[in-house]
């Protein structure tokens, strides 16, 4: 039995004018670390709210741990952990008070499930008498994660837990998630950061309410049609303009210190391109073949 199943879920707002979730179907296996990858407004939060029984979908069905989100919502609410988009714990209670409150809410105590949250709790324990509102962004996320885990849920829903958090804290957070997965908890995470996709077992790329692709990160990158190249020269901005003008190029866009590009009909015209660029003054231009990243796949899928 899959831990999470969505079948043809549709959710609209504003009397149907805004289609937030447009016929989404996917499933997540037990103890899988599943990523929902997409920008703001893609429908990630709406999907989470349907699964955590906070919203009723317009049509379609969904189950969590075998329970139907509409009929058995009470059962679901007792066995899942949820971390909503913004920090939603009590700012004027201390770390300790927040944890005890949520533990009691679920009929348990910190001591009972200490082993589960120990790794995370140890990092915030020195601050346990500090008010939650005065913690840094990274600490708040850790506290929120503890409170979501405190009752040993079978499924964990984390809605953009790393947004607005710096790169180092993000890495730490994902390491904590991996360790949780090893304890058998199914985890569904949403994030707008494409680079975090590779840290998941499987991912769904979502944009404007539609799923673009669902698979393991490796398979998605393998499915990239054609060959991707990386182009580099000294003056990036000018390079971009010039490369765009070259007729044999299908698409070229900035990607860090390189430009990523694909040729029309996958016809390799590297030599012609280099000659053209040299002519435009980019004496140090170089091209190489590269493997596509999730971001490249997302961009490609968006443009289709």
């Amino acid at each position: 039995m899959d831990a999470i199943v969505l079948s043809n879920i549709i959710k609209t707002y504003n009397k149907g004018t805004v289609k937030a979730v447009n016929d989404v179907s996917l499933s997540v296996s037990k103890a899988e670390l599943f990523g929902l990858i997409g920008p703001d407004g893609a429908g990630k939060t709406s999907i989470f709210r349907v699964l955590t029984t906070l919203l009723l979908a317009d049509s379609g069905t969904a189950t969590v741990d075998g329970y139907d989100v509409v009929k058995d919502y009470k059962a679901i609410r007792g066995c899942i952990g949820y971390m909503p988009g913004r920090f939603s714990l009590y700012q004027d209670l201390t770390v300790e008070e927040n944890i005890n409150f949520f533990a009691t809410l679920f009929g348990t105590t910190l001591q009972e499930n200490y082993e589960l949250v120990k790794d995370i709790y140890i990092q915030i324990e020195p601050f346990k008498h500090r008010r939650a509102g005065q913690l840094s962004g990274g600490m708040k996320q850790k506290l929120a994660l503890c409170c979501a885990l405190i009752h040993k849920p079978t499924v964990l829903f984390l809605d953009e837990p790393t947004t607005g958090v710096d790169a180092v804290s993000r890495k730490e957070f994902w390491e904590m998630l991996k360790r949780l997965k090893e304890q058998g908890i199914t985890i569904m995470v949403s994030t707008p950061y494409m680079d975090e996709a590779t840290l998941c077992d499987r991912i769904a790329l979502i944009q404007e309410g539609k799923i673009l692709s669902v698979d393991t990160p490796e398979k998605i990158t393998e499915a990239y049609p054609g060959q991707l190249y990386a182009l580099k020269a000294g003056a990036t901005s000018k390079l971009l303009k010039d490369a765009r003008a070259y007729p044999a190029i299908e698409d070229v866009y900035a990607f860090g210190e390189y430009l990523h590009m694909a040729f029309k009909d996958n016809k390799n015209d590297s030599q012609g391109l280099l000659k053209y660029l040299h002519g435009k003054g980019h004496a140090d231009a170089e091209i190489k073949e590269v493997k596509p990243t999730i971001e490249d796949c997302f961009i490609r899928l968006l443009k289709q």
Partner: protein, 368 residues
Amino acid sequence: MKQLYTFVKKEFYHVFRDRKTLLMLFGVPIAQIILFGFALTNEIKGSKIIVVDYAKDVASQQLITRIGASKYFEVEKSFADHNQIEDAFKQGKIKLAVIIPQNFNDDILHFNKAQVQVIADASDPNTATTLTNYITNIVSDYQSSLTPNQKIPYRIVPQIRMLYNPELKGAPNFVPGVMALVLMLVCTMMTSIAIVREKEMGTMEVLLVSPFKPVFVIISKAIPYLLLSIINLIIILLLSVFVLNLPIKGNIFLLFGASTLFILTSLSIGLIISTVTTSQQSAMMASLMGMMLPTMLLTGFMFPVENMPVPLQVLSNIVPSRWYYIIIKNVMIKGLGFSAIWKETLILTGMTLLLLGLSLRNFKNRLA
């Protein structure tokens, strides 16, 4: 300068695009002017009074006819003895009684002077003073009409007795009114804000996704304010007894019992408001604007309800503080027992149950 103009223009856009605020900006002043201007008046007309006529002679008949003809009074004479008068006052049926003693006519003719007893319900000293003034004027008019050519004028002297509040202090009138106002505003506003705050901060989401039953969320929000309001009540009573010298004539437990009921009513109104508002600001606005105006104007402590036009009197029946005000006045000022307030208590209980039922039904188990 131009920058100022640009900014002002933007502010106008904001105002006109916010329907709710617009409604309040224009709606409230209009409502107030109409209410204050047309409906509320300090002039008291058609007050029900009792005239007890022990004399049953020509003079008394003439006086009674004059009183009856006045637009200020509606005479119900019939009672034969004082105890029944007391009861009528206790039940709040009348605010004034005129008692004409035996031998009224004879006294006037033979002694050139007579007395008339006037008893007024002074728990509302303003009304009492106004009414006794009306009576005094009518009596003195009658007096003048009797002696156009007399050398020694007749004198009919009204003996005035103010019930419940002989010193005509303002406190007996406004303290119950203030109690009603304060408890209503605090409970309604604070409860609604506390619940909506969870919605606004996003913690409500997390609470809902837990085995904790939503109804307990409501109860746990209401309990602190219930307790705090009772403390508030105690403070008000202490102040009124020791600082304003207004003793509590009736049963203290009855007072607290009734007050607790009223607190529950106010809390339920707060609950309903919390189910229809989404931000703390609009919860506060709804509590203040939606409850303050009716409570202040239609409770009856600023302006007597009996003197308002009928539609407003009907409207005042659904303002809970009106009933609480009667209960408090009866128990605290008039010293009456449960028999005098059972009707009002029943009404308040009914309102509370209805409001609680509605808010539980409205309380959303989900976000939408």
